[in-house]
Amino acid sequence: MVILWTDALIYFLVVTVIFLSFYVVRKPQFKRPLTKIFHNKSGMVSLIFLIFFMMIGLFDSVHFKSNETHAKPIISVLDYWMTPLRTQGEKTYSAPFSTHLYNKEMVVLDNGSKVWRYPRLKYAGVYLDKPEQQKITDIVLKSGQGFLKGVVFCAMMIFGLFLLNRYYGAMSALNDWKQSPMALKLISSVVIMMIIGSFILVELSSYYHIFGTDKVGEDVFYQAIKSIRTGLVIGSLTTLIMLPLAIVFGIMAGFFRGWVDDVIQYLYTTLNSIPSVLLIAASILMVQVYMANHAENFTSLIIRADMRLLFLCLILGVTSWTGLCRLLRAETLKLREMEYVQAAQALGVQRSKILWRHILPNVMHIVLISVALDFSALVLAEAVLSYINIGVDPTTYSWGNMINGARLEMAREPVVWWSLTASFIFMFTLVLAANLFADCVSDAFDPRRV
């Protein structure tokens, strides 16, 4: 197993989130917002989508050295599962579900004569004799197979849960949920639909290129799936870097006031006054120079790309903590005049304890809301930055790189639209889910809307 830097940070993040959620579930002050989120239909559906994306991202974050070729490339568990998609490349473009290449070529027939026509694809629908007539029925048939597999899987899963519940009472933790049959029904039906849908997609993608292939013949569906990790890493690791800065500085500035406040305010106004795109551009340029001059530290392509991704998160984190810091400072200024804080001070409670016990829990809702809101903005920002060449490494799979590679293809005739469509669908789903969930979170945690 190989642990890349971003992998390690993702594991750390997952552990933190698990601990935090245990903490949050136990605390009485979070009960009302949590039940509110649970009863919000669009919020729960988008949460399921987010979890689905996160699972894919997590499987893509477990890397190991494969024995496939002599070079022993570093691949992830997801890569391993998708080996056919990863390795079965065509020559160049081909449309979604197509059985023929995009370009005409000289094809040598069995009898030795040469014909100028669209050659068959090497890995899509090879078993069809007359693809024009048989393709539709075959696609329907294959999706039916996938559907059946999905149904069987779901049935087994439900049966397993039922048995667990029967003999071990493992579902007792879910007893609260049972009181709201509407939410439970909705969640389980969405989950089942997603499982069946992904079974159909997996089944189809092993026989066809469901989103076509790109310029060098790589499967676009595979690229779009791989890009999920990049988007999630940017959205979440940036938050991991930004939160400590914003919380520590914001609370300190608001609580201690005086020269501490002045210094912190000066710091964030200075950082804020540089347009963030330019600051990111300048920093990434410098990272490029550094990497070029210290090539010996970045031996393999994937380590290099990973370091650049990490640097990007770092830079985004440094440029984006100022907004939250300002909010937290204002809130802390308000809180420190509250009676319970004054009472604690009068009783001689240590300052650090006041900060930890009285201030921090009471600004947590602002932190949660802003994390949820920032996530989708960061995923969108990645695409834009990659387009200007100051985002992730060009070899990393990301939606921004996909768009960047495909946008000039719109000028071709016939139009090569599938790369853009694939990245659009995946990115739109993730960002929409994140936006809806963020709305739901801010609705639930906003104290003005009790």
């Binding site: 106004t269 330019l278 551009a281 001059n293 719109m410 659009f424």
Partner: protein, 323 residues
């Protein structure tokens, strides 16, 4: 008043100094000029002479902070020559030898020509959408427009541009896909980018103004106005809009100076010769001098915007007193 403005101006100086030091550290300390020269000249197999030559041509051969050989040890340094000169808007020459200052002067008008109409039209569209949403609040019209806003917000701006160029420019052939011209001819090149900028901003913009108006609608004076017997439209357009104009106006004033910087993506997609595409070209050519100047220029403009916001607050809102 003048006293106040002067004081605010003095407050801006340490900020600019901070920006300056930050860029200096980024561009000269993190990587030495030698590293930059090697990067530009192409990595391996570069002789030290070539590096020295490159540095000398661009004035990077001086010591960073202290030059003990010269009579005036502070002046003959990179920090003084490259960073302090920015304060008098002497941007020097780019790494490819052009004068950055004149380039900026030439290009900023194109940026402004596209950014200003986008801002004004966008503002009008956003505010009227938000007012309509508030007017029809608690109805299906509001619910569906909120959903549309969230959907519009979730689409990357790149797709708006690519889609707009494809639909309007290539399929319908209404306007040229990209390019720029001087004078009145420029309009046909500007229509599409402005429309796209407005459409891509309407989702988040309308939502933002809606929350602003909703906060205002709950206030006491609105209830009084309704009690006087005014209709809902009169209340909204006369009372609420007028009072909400203060935060809207001050929010706009901050970004006014930054309009000169233009938009990086729009300008590069539509090949408009503004400052945004200038910056992108510099990033792609790894021209450090231009990027450094643009960072400084951007922060100067932002700080001017902050100053203007403070002043406009005191002008527009009678409750704010100068302190």
């Amino acid at each position: 008043m003048i006293n106040y403005i002067f004081r605010r101006f003095l407050y801006a100086l340490p900020l600019l100094m901070g920006v300056n030091i930050l860029t200096f550290v980024l561009f000269f300390i993190v990587n030495s000029p030698d590293d930059m020269a090697r990067m530009q000249l192409g990595q391996k197999h570069v002789t030290q002479e070539a590096v020295d030559n490159w540095k000398q041509q661009r004035g990077y051969d001086l010591p960073l902070l202290w030059n003990s050989k010269e009579k005036n040890p502070v002046v003959e340094t990179i920090f003084y020559q490259k960073s302090m000169r920015l304060f008098v808007f002497d941007f020097g020459t780019s790494d490819s030898g052009r004068n950055i200052g004149s380039d900026i002067q030439q290009r900023m008008w194109a940026s402004l020509a596209i950014a200003l109409p986008s801002l004004i039209v966008g503002l009008l569209v956003n505010i009227s959408m938000a007012l309509l949403m508030v007017l029809f609040r608690n109805s299906y019209i509001e619910l569906s427009s909120i959903i549309i806003c969230v959907i519009l917000m979730s689409i990357s701006s790149l797709f708006y541009i690519i889609g707009g160029q494809f639909l309007v420019g290539k399929l319908l052939r209404l306007v040229p896909i990209s390019g720029y011209d001087t004078g009145i001819e420029a309009i046909k090149f500007l229509v599409l980018p402005v429309i796209i900028a407005v459409v891509s901003g309407v989702g988040s913009g309308a939502r933002w103004y809606r929350t602003l108006f909703l906060e205002e609608v709950e206030k006491d004076y609105v209830r009084t106005a309704r009690a006087k017997g005014l209709t809902e439209t009169q209340v909204l357009f006369k009372h609420v809009l007028q009072n909400a104009l203060i935060p809207i106006l001050t929010g706009v004033v901050v970004v006014l100076p930054l309009l000169f910087m233009g938009s990086l993506i729009t300008e590069s997609f539509f090949s408009i010769p503004g400052l945004g595409s200038y910056t992108i070209d510099a990033i792609n050519r790894q021209d450090f001098a231009i990027v450094r100047s643009m960072v400084f220029l951007g922060s100067v403009l932002y700080i001017i915007g902050l100053l203007m916001t403070d002043i406009s607050y005191t002008l527009v809102d009678p409750r704010v007193r100068l302190s």
